[in-house]
């Protein structure tokens, strides 16, 4: 199935999604990767607010290349999400609804996705130019000193994504290869 989704994302809107479905996402997406996650944890530890409203938000693990003059953004494909695993359940408990990245997540993240009715979606790894094509605007909203790791607010239209982890415990990295191998016997 293919779904059209708009941010902010509600539990109800995400509930029908199953691992292997494709999504065209439009609206606002925030970027954050390793260093930004570390700083967000510091803020939370101090009881301070995050640089954006996390309830219903979509976060994209990406560190784009610098844009050339006249371009909205450089190449902007996903980075490996597993490095963010240790920070993720805390953000999901605060209302983070959707993560966009690539690669396996740990058990704690999977359980937290189910508990919070969230989703983890795949952007195409290595498809930096293709992913950039769905990004209409880009603005740094926190920690410009982090360079490509700064937090950016993106406006996206029909960003092509694939459901990896759904709110019902589905995991495409397991079910996808299994289904393919099953088709051979």
């Amino acid at each position: 199935m293919q779904y059209q989704l708009n941010t902010p994302l509600t539990r109800e809107a995400l509930a029908p999604l199953r691992a292997g479905d494709t999504v065209l996402l439009s609206g606002t997406v925030y970027t954050a990767r390793d260093a930004a996650h570390a700083r967000m944890m510091e803020l939370l530890d101090k009881g301070e607010a995050l640089p954006f409203d996390i309830a219903g938000a979509a976060v994209y693990y990406v560190g784009p290349t610098p844009e050339r003059p006249g371009q909205v953004i450089g190449a902007a494909g996903p980075t490996t999400a597993g490095r963010m695993d240790k920070f993720t359940p805390r953000l999901l408990d605060l209302g983070l609804a959707c993560m966009i990245g690539k690669g396996k997540r740990d058990q704690a993240v999977k359980a937290s996705v189910v508990k919070n009715g969230a989703v983890y979606l795949a952007a195409l790894g290595g498809a930096g130019a293709l992913m950039a094509a769905s990004i209409e605007s880009c603005e740094i909203i926190a920690w410009p000193d982090l360079g490509c790791e700064a937090v950016r607010r993106l406006r996206v239209r029909d960003m092509p994504l694939t459901v990896l982890l759904d709110a019902h415990g589905g995991d495409l990295y397991q079910s996808g290869p299994e289904a393919y191998l099953q088709s051979l016997v």
């Binding site: 050339r68 980075t79 490996t80 290595g126 130019a129 490509c148 996808g176 290869p177 393919y180 191998l181």
Partner: protein, 282 residues
């Protein structure tokens, strides 16, 4: 035999251009392998995914964007003729200046931290990861092969026992690919080092990634091992991006070297579908 003079500035200019070429266009052999894989792929989601990855290559060309945002460590390999005399500066400085100009001027991402634990970005993607091989003649052949971290992080080295033999090597390679799963952006390309010492073995694996996917190991024994491993990896069903399918590996390149009677090192350097390299001869 006379000595040929080569200006350091010429090396800088070549490295700068190669950084750009490598990051914005795929080598023909990789492009062709992706096309063949898409044509042959029987699993619908996998075929669609391969189509999007190929679309990405076209988009990069059309919009003058890097194929992947991880424009990598600048791995630079130089085959330097022993009859070349470099003038006007040090070779390493010339290479680093080329990387600096290529990455800063070319809007490529700067992904190098100057210290592995204190982690401060060097802001210009230097230093280059430079390997120099002294060869006969008076030519200087430079290859830039930007290497991303997603696939580099899934690479492994094992000090096997000689008794583990070729089966041990196969098992280790397959285990490495299984552990890597979706992380290195499959379809992957593997560089495998067999033999040498602990450090040499890893260098063999990285160097193997420079060989075109359409060129087998010159030794038929290792050539057939390359095909066997590639088929075995594709039988795992991981598929493009790990979504499942027939296309997990585009090619395996093995480099072998003499080793100690008590050693059997094997190194697996994983590369992604964005296997980048560009060469020039000066």
């Amino acid at each position: 035999m006379s000595v040929r003079e080569l200006k350091a500035g010429a090396i800088t200019r070549a490295v700068e251009q190669l950084c750009l070429r490598a990051n914005l266009t795929l080598p023909d052999d990789v492009h062709n392998a992706m096309q063949r894989a898409q044509d042959a792929e029987p699993w619908p989601l996998a075929k669609q995914t391969l189509g999007l990855l190929r679309q990405n290559e076209q988009d990069a060309l059309a919009k003058n964007l890097p194929i992947c945002q991880d424009t990598g460590m600048a791995c630079v390999f130089i085959e330097l003729g022993q009859d070349v005399h470099i003038t006007g500066g040090a070779l390493r400085d010339a290479v680093n200046e080329g990387v600096r100009r290529g990455y800063v001027g070319g809007y490529l991402r700067k992904s190098i931290t100057g210290d592995p634990l204190r982690r401060r970005n060097t802001e210009d993607n230097t230093p280059a990861f430079l390997t120099v091989d002294l060869v006969p003649g008076d030519r200087c052949r430079i290859t830039v092969a930007p290497k991303g971290a997603g696939s580099e992080n899934m690479s492994r080295l094992g000090m096997l026992k000689p008794a583990d033999g070729v089966q041990g090597v196969k098992d280790f390679v397959l285990e490495t690919v299984r552990l890597a799963g979706s992380n290195p952006c499959p379809p992957i390309v593997l560089g495998v080092g067999v033999g040498g010492s602990f450090d040499k073995c890893a260098a063999l694996a990285k160097h193997a990634l420079l060989r075109g996917l359409d060129i087998p190991n010159p030794d038929p024994y290792y050539a057939s091992l390359e095909w066997e491993l590639c088929d075995a990896i594709n039988a795992l069903g991981i598929g493009p991006q790990g979504f499942g399918g027939a296309t997990t590996c585009l090619g395996v390149a093995i480099e072998q070297a003499p080793t100690h009677v008590a050693c059997l090192p094997v190194a697996v350097n994983i590369n992604c579908h964005v296997t980048r390299r560009a060469s020039a001869e000066l």
